[in-house]
Symmetry: C2
Subunit: 499 residues, 2 copies
């Protein structure tokens, strides 16, 4: 066996621990009985530590040192070269984090997740607060271990979008504010809000599921390599090769919630499912970054799922499931999924206001991580910022500071990925339209294959081989440019709101 094959077998060993860990996480979010969490979190911690130890072992260091030799490296094929680079980068990163911290984070977040669920259910922030304090303490320790030049928060941003800096996020936010605040105000003051009453109400859960399955069928989701389940907060997880699971949530108040959650998560799933088999059980078997991942989910959810061509097709499907839609046109249904409003929940926010939800989270996270504020003040600060950015104040904490799962998972630094994902998606869309002139008529026929293949050829097939900025440059010929997003938004909503 060649040395590179030995190395891949070693990486596969690590990947198998990751599979077990992913399954435990998935189970905790979907089916695990409540009382199991305490002990299961210890199992998570145990396996996380082992995964960590395998990754930062002397054996790993020896492999990487061997392949760092120029005369060895140059004989590898391009994929294997990328593999060495990505593994080395991961090695350098995680060996900075102490094993004890990895273990503590795994155990604490598993318990915190349950506390968060209870806090949200009971609208009682105090249930979650002590866990959040502990998580922030650990995440700060993580950031300090990883190191940073100017801002501790940079170390966390880098975990999800390599190289992204706090200052860059601030610049993007400034650009978006400059170009969208006035537009939003005009739209809400002068525009004509479409009808959406027909989407509201307590729709039968089995029929909601049927609708989600229709959307998944349209997106060619492969049930022999994945599943659809329900959870408090919809998510996608790759358990391992040929096993990507998504969840949704059936709302008792609005049909759109489950439909667009399902489409969003399936966008993530297609990315993972289209990574080539040669990457399986290696560090290349994942997306380029969280922002690129979100560009895929937001692309499907918004740019496709909330487009008129899609609804010219999907309106016939939805009418087969729900009689109440019979008298409505495709355009009615299309406009009804594009209501712009100052709303409470990020996951239910429209495309125009969505980034404002991210801005407040970004500011709060940056302040928490740099000890500018405490968790005690958090509900108040949240509500103040909601008022500032969105002009409304949550009536309770469940609909406010407790709405997102991320902090209970320790995922500080993740939220900006959603914003970048929106921007990347619009930039990719601009190129896709040039490359596939028939995209719109394909969609009207319920045919998503041309789009799926374009995404596969341009994004998915590279897995983690190519860095996010480089990937976007290769596909679109320029670096991240928020102009595409602003253009997309202003054109689309000027038409819908008739301003």
């Amino acid at each position: 066996m060649e040395k590179i094959d030995n190395f891949k077998e070693y990486l596969a060993k690590i990947s198998r621990y990751e599979q077990a860990l992913s399954l435990i996480y998935w189970d905790l979010e979907t089916y695990a009985p409540d009382k199991s969490v305490y002990y299961r979190s210890k199992a998570l911690a145990e396996l996380s530590e082992m995964r960590y130890n395998l990754f930062v072992s002397n054996k790993m260091a020896e492999f990487l040192a061997y392949f760092a030799q120029e005369n060895i490296l140059r004989d590898l094929n391009e994929t294997d070269k990328a593999l060495i680079k990505v593994a080395d980068k991961e090695f350098e990163k995680i060996k900075k984090i102490p094993a004890k911290l990895v273990r503590n984070l795994a155990e604490t977040t598993a318990n915190a997740n349950l506390a968060w669920k209870q806090a949200k259910e009971n609208d009682d922030f105090s249930i979650f607060q002590p866990y959040l304090d502990e998580i922030i303490r650990l995440v700060k320790e993580e950031a300090d271990s990883l190191g940073y030049e100017k801002n501790r928060y940079d170390a966390l941003l880098d975990l999800y979008e390599p190289g992204l800096k706090t200052t860059e996020v601030s610049e993007i936010i400034a650009y978006l504010k400059e170009n969208l605040i006035l537009f939003l105000n005009k739209l809400l003051e002068e525009g004509k809000e479409p009808r959406d009453d027909f989407y509201k109400g307590n729709f039968d859960m089995n029929k909601q599921k049927e609708l989600s399955l229709e959307a998944l069928k349209f997106m060619n989701f492969d049930f022999s390599s994945g599943r659809l389940d329900t959870s408090v907060h919809p998510f996608t997880t790759k358990i391992g090769p040929r096993d990507v699971r998504i969840t949704t949530k059936y709302s008792t108040e609005d049909l759109r919630y489950s439909l667009f959650s399902t489409i969003h998560e399936c966008g993530h799933a297609l990315y993972e499912l289209n990574i080539p088999a040669v990457f399986f059980e290696t560090p290349l078997d994942e997306g380029a970054s969280m922002a690129i991942h979100e560009s895929q989910s937001r692309f499907w959810e918004n740019i496709i799922g909330r487009s008129l061509p899609f609804w010219n097709y999907f309106s016939t499907r939805i009418k087969l499931i729900f009689n109440s839609f019979k008298g409505l046109s495709s355009k009615d249904l299309y406009k009804g999924v594009n209501i712009v409003e100052r709303s409470l929940l990020r996951t239910e926010a429209d495309e125009v206001t969505y980034n404002f939800h991210i801005m407040l989270r970004f500011e709060i996270e940056e302040a928490l991580i740099n000890d500018k504020i405490t968790t005690k003040e958090l509900p108040l600060i949240w509500n103040d910022k909601m008022k500032e950015y969105l002009g409304i104040v949550p009536p309770n904490n469940s609909l406010g500071v407790l709405q997102d799962v991320h902090w209970s998972n320790g995922s500080f630094g993740y939220f900006p990925s959603y914003m970048l994902g929106n921007l990347y998606a619009a930039q990719l869309f601009s190129k896709l339209k040039q490359d596939i002139p028939s995209y719109s008529s394909d969609l009207e026929k319920g045919e998503a294959t041309s789009i799926i293949n374009w995404l596969k050829d341009n994004i998915h097939q590279y897995g983690k081989m190519v860095e996010p900025q480089e990937l976007i440059y290769r596909v679109t010929g320029e670096k991240l440019n928020p102009k595409y997003f602003v253009d997309y938004i202003t054109n689309k909503y000027t038409e819908i709101y008739n301003i």
Copy 2:
């Protein structure tokens, strides 16, 4: 920290690998997408090997050597003494099995399980046969590694019922044949078969589930520490502390199938759930043996679930769910769950014929393990033995040699546990009736707590502390005695069949 606490922490570490493994197994049987199995089986193998390595490590050997010192051992409390004994026995046993074999078994059985499912679905034994060959090869290697005095099959029996010998099983079988064959013939020739047409048909699956939930409620099953799902073959698995999951299967032909599967599996679950918390994450946190385990499941399924007092209560519950039962008496419903017939499937067999299904499996396993027959001949041999023992021949292999999951899991030597379980259950029941004179009127009120507590006090609370034969002796005052079972059967069915 005291040395014994260090040892327990080390055992907990091992237990956490077992939790991950149990979850992967459970997932493969319930929710895992088909194409995930190939890679998941590699993860299983990886973790199985690690679990094995931790168990037979030098560290484990050092702990056990330390506690083997008389002056150390004598100062431990009774529980800790038992823990050392059980851990030592397990250590001595599994260190005989080579690591490579453990890994091969885990990987092969995961793939074989999928092949078995496909073979069963398509009624095609040839899909499963090569996997079965490989499993038998590995299981023989396992038996040879473990060692035995007279019969290679003894080494496998010992895995499930410590100390049980092939000759003992043969003796029990001879006793049962002598005392039950004539009775069975008489019953089927001269007895009056009760009606059971009302249980047959395609009952609504959601209502079947409701009925299962009623039975679980009666048995005080705690859903905050467990779940009910569906699988091809009903089973119970303890994922870890406070997490015991059962499955059932909703038949489209017979209402009794799911109901009694659920009760059976819940019998297993109550055993595991009632083991005290001080045993958690140690080798004491399981049942005394598989036969004792089956005594619990068969006790609930048959001795309680198929008793008149239970149906005096449960008939009102079943009528609330299914209108079609309205005109039937408790006694009709009771008799209808006690039909004796020469049938094809072990899991659907009645109490009188059940052990005959075990006898043929015992003989086939013993012959396979000792190379007296080959898997190629298996379908034919199965059918011949069915004719000999039960007087009928399966119309296809799905209803014949492919019916059970056990061989695909590598569980050779398990089947006799069911038979012993039946015998233990009857022996325990005889004692329970003396200890709880009110048991029958309690049941009629839907009150199972007195029985649950009796089982907890006499069996469950000991976990694996006490060896099976010793446990039965302590509770009933004598060793395993098949007479109780024969008496129970002949009394019950003489009355039902009016002979």
